[in-house]
Every structure is written in C-alpha cells, then in structure tokens.
Symmetry: none
DNA sequence: CGAGCCAACTAGGTTAACTATGTTGGCTAA
DNA sequence: TTAGCCAACATAGTTAACCTAGTTGGCTCG
C-alpha cells in the first residue's frame, strides 16, 4: 500500500486513517482494526502502524485503551468554530479542578496512613 | 533524569523541551542539542529522544533539518498554522487523561490496601 | 591555490524484539 | 453452577540496530 512517494509510511497511514475518521468511514466510538490487522492491510511493519496510531492519539483523534483497542474519539470535528475550543478549554478546566480535589484527598490519606500501613500490595 | 512517575519518558522529555521553548530557555531560531546529546542529558536511549523530538516536530514547535540539526521555530510562525490552538488543546487533553488515569490507579490502590475504611467518597 | 574527495557529524525512517499491562473468553475444578 | 485460573490478544513503552541522506570541515592531490 505505502506508496513510493517521499512521504514516510507512518505519515501516509496516519493520513489515511485521519481521512477515514473525518470522512465518517470510521464513526466516533467505533473500534479501529488492531495494530496487526492494520499492518497487514497497509503492508507495513508493526512499528510504523504503531507510530501512525501514536500520531492520531497525540492529536486527540483516537483514544487507545490497553487490552481493548483504539477507539475513534467523539469528534470536535468542526474545525472552524473557535467557540468549540472555548468549550473544550472550559471542560479541561473543570477536569483539572476535579483532578486537584481528588489528588488532595489521596495525599491526605497517604499522610495519615504512612505511620503504619497494611502494606497489602501484590502481583 | 527520567522518572518514576509512570509518565512515559518520551513524553517527559517532550514536556521538558516544550517548557524550555515556551519559557525562552530555547530561543526561536536556536539549535537544539543533538539527539545523542539529549539522550545523554536525559539518560535515555536514542529512540525515546527521537520520539520526543518527533512530537515537537509534529506540533510545529521545531523544525528538523537533516545534516544540520533541530531548530526552534519562530513563535509567530507557529500560530499561523490553523490547528495550533487545537493542537495545544489536544495536548492538554492528553495530559489530563494521563493524570486522570494515574490518579485513578493510585486511588484504587489506596482503596484496596485499606480494605474498607470510612471517609472514602467516590466520584 | 583550488577542486574534489572523504570522514565525521547530523536528522530521519524502518524494522525487530522484548517487556509491561489490561481485557476477554474459555476451560477446569470444586 | 460458579469461582478461579489461564491462554490469547490487545495497546503501550523501550531499546537496539541498520539504513538513507544532508551538511561540514579537513585533507589530499592535481
């Protein structure tokens, strides 16, 4: 599959997957083919597929879940609207506040239990 | 240098370099240390450094020139790209997701190690 | 002196192997 | 039937190796 153009293979695959997502061929919430399947489809090595998926993951287009697969993210596909970004920023801000509160709670628990801890951890 | 924090090394290095660029420690137009130098500085392998630089390159913060090095891009040029803000939001989103996942893991460990104890409010 | 080669750098791309970790489903034994 | 183990498969991270290709500076040879 990977053409002989100067464009690297992992970018070609990322472009193709991105186009499929934007075009609707891969609907939001749907599961991408596994790394091995993509490698076979594009006739590429596992490494380049992992790199391509990593790019999309970095762009926020997909979300990888260990053990399950890579899912297409519910898109903020609207590229133009600047207001969408504001909403997303607000969402991120609340998320950060939530994380701060939870982290404070965990830190407090850790501080109170450090003297004698059951130490029950395994695996 | 690296970590114990569970955050992948290539992300830590990318974060550090990004902070240096945003903070002005690495001025626009200046040359980043070579891959080998960065690998030694962060006590990481060449691969993770290349991945980190690749992320910044993908974000448009730096431009790599074969045979010469990796240069910090002019700050005014970067926003010219349409998706600069989106990229930054996506970056923050992945950071929040990462933090959320790590915090959830810590919370779970705390919850299970103390078997059941009062004062644990959930989300 | 100058042209050209060459060695030593550089980034970039690709592949393979290994480890870690999480999910799932099937099998087995109580 | 049910609980638990376990194999298979998934993403994710890391490392090492090899190759291409561009740049640079020094050295040699004409």
């Amino acid at each position: 599959m990977v053409k002989n153009t100067g464009r690297p293979g992992y970018l070609q695959i990322a472009d193709d997957l991105r186009a499929q997502i934007r075009g609707g061929a891969l609907a939001p919430g749907s599961l991408l083919p596994s790394t091995a399947q993509l490698a076979e489809r594009y006739d590429a090595s596992l490494s380049v597929v992992k790199m391509a998926v990593g790019i999309l993951r970095n762009e926020g287009l997909v979300i990888g879940q260990q053990g399950k697969g890579v899912f297409v993210r519910d898109a903020e596909v609207a590229p133009a609207t600047a207001g969408a970004l504001e909403g997303e920023v607000a969402e991120l801000r609340t998320a950060v506040q939530d994380l701060s509160a939870r982290l404070a709670k965990v830190e407090e628990q850790l501080a109170t239990s450090t003297t004698h801890r059951p130490g029950r951890s395994s695996r």
